[in-house]
Amino acid sequence: MPGQYQLEIIDHRQVAPGHFELTLPQQGELARAEPGQFVSVLVRAPESFDPLLRRPLSIYRTAEDRFSLLYRVVGRGTRRLSQFRAGEALDCVGPLGRGFTYRDLSPGAKVVLVGGGVGVPPLVFLSQKLLQIGIVPEVFAGYASSEHVVGLGAWREAGLEPVVSTDDGSLGYRGYVTQVFAERLAQGSVERVYACGPRPMLAEVAALAGRYGVDCQVAMEEWMACGIGVCLSCVTKVQEGGANRWARVCREGPVFDARKVVWQGGS
């Protein structure tokens, strides 16, 4: 069940050029959030109605008493958010959406995570949870360039060693993360893939997983007005029982079974 919370910012810092980690206290239902779920954050100043809408951000990592968001500044909403300081209150609604399914996995299961850019945050949180149930995921993380790298530190602290690629080759492999991921898949023995990133990347990951018959869950993004499932702005086409229908990314997603998503013309 989502709730609305006024959270006093514990910490807020730049973690890469234009990328910030925002740490908030756990409160109410938020403490029960699952990886892949998100919160929607009010970025406008008090008594101002511009910008109007909340901004959806995935949960990046959690601790006993706190959790954090990791975001990239792309427009006026995230720019404004980046100006909030520790001690100020932030209005958050969450946890929202349906997260990744992973409790069905057995300890030691072979799991691969594929993250692209600011698709990384929910996968970091997922890694935390997987490790707790005895699963050590293999992580593939792709970025535009070394400047955009986020999440690596968190993964390494957790003892994971992500395979990194950058579009410009400034760190790790040069090229798309899907290329390295494809090589890994070809080696076999992957039970499940979890992916988050831009839609074209997800489509490619889904196609690859499909080709190898591997279970795949993708966390998607669409523009959201309400974030809670009432406005129908964030829909994406899914296939169910032979028919296509619109599913709400904010409520039925953001995590979908990759096989169900209609990748061509589905939005």
Partner: protein, 314 residues
């Protein structure tokens, strides 16, 4: 005074409400999601998302974009159709002690009428809100709501199918909103709700094309409030029907603007997206105002009093 006994009940052309705070169609789904936040029984009524005869697919994406103090939507009235509503949504809503107002949409007069017939057969509404902003496909897609005669036709068709209150929801995209209001009154509407969204668009300056896949969308949110209040003010002077005011309401003060301008009830729309408790905050603020200012019903249209006084002076 006891905090519980403030009387906010109001009768909207036969629809008795325990309080005048509703949620606007399309901004509250069919209630399920908001029921996770609060008891829907606290609302005067829920105006459900538009219901059509057969499922409507809606528009391709992007369907929304933010604008200064507002947003555009081009959802395209996506909905699963009246049968789905009756089977899946109505039973859930009926659990709550609130009124259900079904927003009816159609592409022909016939479609509107048949939606109402189906719902009547199962007593699936406490009142109907006729969304006349739909495109009239027989008239080349122009909105029913932009022509008094077409609007009246829809209202008449619905009127003849039900004894329950019929609310005509006016479009603001007209030269003179009172003309359509009067036409709807004559056609038998019991109440009017206003306003629907303003036809608008945004251009993606980088890609040099409209942002919305549908090109046009409806502007809602605080940006439109001053125009919506003006229209309520005008219609209040022109017709003798109870009005439901909406358009950018975010707080009790905003709601009071509409009430003082002549609305007997109000609906919270876009604000539900940014504050899930907006409707309850509006409600408690109105309660507070009534405690301080006296009976709710005397507040309706009270800002006109001043003008009447003024014209005597002049």
């Amino acid at each position: 005074m006891d905090h519980e006994v403030v009387d906010l009940s109001v009768n909207l052309g036969g629809l008795a409400l325990k309080n005048p705070v509703m949620v606007a169609s399309g901004t509250f789904g069919y209630g399920k999601e908001f029921a996770e936040f609060f008891d829907l029984g606290r609302l005067g009524a829920v105006m459900v998302k538009g219901v059509s005869l057969v499922p409507w697919e809606g528009n391709p994406l992007p369907r929304i974009v933010e604008t200064p103090a507002g947003m555009l939507n081009a959802i395209g009235l996506q909905n699963a159709g009246v049968d789905h509503y009756l089977k899946e949504d109505l039973p859930f809503l009926r659990q709550f002690d609130t009124r259900i107002i079904v927003n009816v949409i159609g592409k022909t007069v016939e479609e509107y009428a048949r939606v109402v017939e189906r719902i009547e057969a199962q007593e699936g509404a406490d009142a109907y809100e006729i969304n006349i902003s739909c495109p009239n496909i027989k008239e080349g897609g122009i909105s029913f709501g932009s022509d008094p005669a077409l609007a009246a036709e829809v209202v008449k068709a619905v009127r003849s199918r039900t004894r329950r209150p019929v609310i005509a929801k006016l479009s603001p995209n007209v030269t003179d909103v009172t003309e359509v209001a009067i036409a709807c009154q004559l056609a038998g509407a019991d109440a009017l709700s206003l306003v629907n969204t303003f036809l608008a668009m945004a251009i993606d300056v980088d890609r040099e094309r409209p942002v919305l896949a549908n090109v046009f969308g409806g502007l809602s949110g605080p940006a439109i409030r001053p125009i919506a209040v003006r229209m309520v003010w005008e219609v209040y002077r022109a017709v003798d029907l109870p009005l439901i005011g909406m358009g950018g309401i975010t707080s009790a003060r905003d709601a009071l603007e509409f009430i003082l301008a002549g609305a007997s009830a109000v609906a919270v729309g876009t604000a539900n997206f940014t504050n899930p408790y907006a409707s309850l905050e509006v409600l408690s603020g109105i309660q507070e105002a009534v405690r301080r200012r006296g009976p709710y019903r005397e507040m309706i249209g009270r800002a006109h009093r001043w003008q009447k006084e003024r014209s005597i002076d002049d």
